[in-house]
Structure formats: C-alpha cells, structure tokens
Symmetry: C2
Subunit: 86 residues, 2 copies
Amino acid sequence: MTMEKIEIIGMVAAVLTTGSFVPQVYKTVIEKSTKDISLTMYTAMFIGVTLWFVYGVLIHSISMMLANGITALLLLIMIGLKLKYK
Amino acid sequence: MTMEKIEIIGMVAAVLTTGSFVPQVYKTVIEKSTKDISLTMYTAMFIGVTLWFVYGVLIHSISMMLANGITALLLLIMIGLKLKYK
C-alpha cells in the first residue's frame, strides 16, 4: 500500500476519534446529566491527549497537533459539564 | 530534545489515553447505568481506533497496534454495557 493511502486511513481515523466527542458533548448539553460519566476517565484522557499534542509539536506533526488540540478542547468542555451537572 | 525523551512522552500519553477507559468501564460495571453515555461517541471512537490499529499495522508500529488494540477492546466492552443497561 502506498504512503498516501496509509495517510488517508490515518486521517479518517483522526476525524473519527476526535469527532466522536461531539455527540457526547451535544447529548450532555441537551440532557444536563452526567451521573454515568467518569470524571477520572475524562481527566486522564485530557492529560494524555495534551501529552500527544506536545509529542506532535516535538515531532513537527501538524495533524497530531490539530487532532489532539481539538480533542483536548472537547474533553475540557466535558470536564466543565461534568463539574457543572454532577 | 532527544528522540528517546520524545518517545517517553508518547508512551506516557498512550498509557493515559488507553488506560482512561478503565475507570469508565469499572464505574459502569458497578453502577449498571449508562443513560448519560453517548452510544454514537463510543461507536465512532471504536471505528476510529480500529483504523488507528490498521494504520499501526501498515506502518509497523508495535506501540500503535498495542495501544489501539487494547483501547478497541475496552470500547467494545463499553458498547456491550451500553446495549445491556440502556
């Protein structure tokens, strides 16, 4: 498989993993309930994704910076919602 | 920064992002409630992480295969729990 085709798989993967938090944020904003959501999960993931962002900066990968930067923002919104509607 | 130090950041990031699902699975198993959890989020993320796994196979990255393989398994458990306790 060519490097271009492999990178397309990586890009689709990035859009899906980053974008997956959008329906969760939407659901939480509408329903104003976070009882079943683990704050530990979102906190650990936020720190992890921030480190992936730093990794992306260090290896000069624009796609890693972009995907992890947006994910970190969505996770921060979820942490805010969890603390607001706990 | 040396490549070794950068890879350590990547490894800590991988442990945190993959491991973050463990407290969520634990919480859901104990509380048997998934009302506030978005099935769309977990489905999109499962497909995305599976593609990251395929990407890891194609670029021969053991750490990507390992991290995304374990994450896919934890997401599959969450999808099963969501369908069981909806």
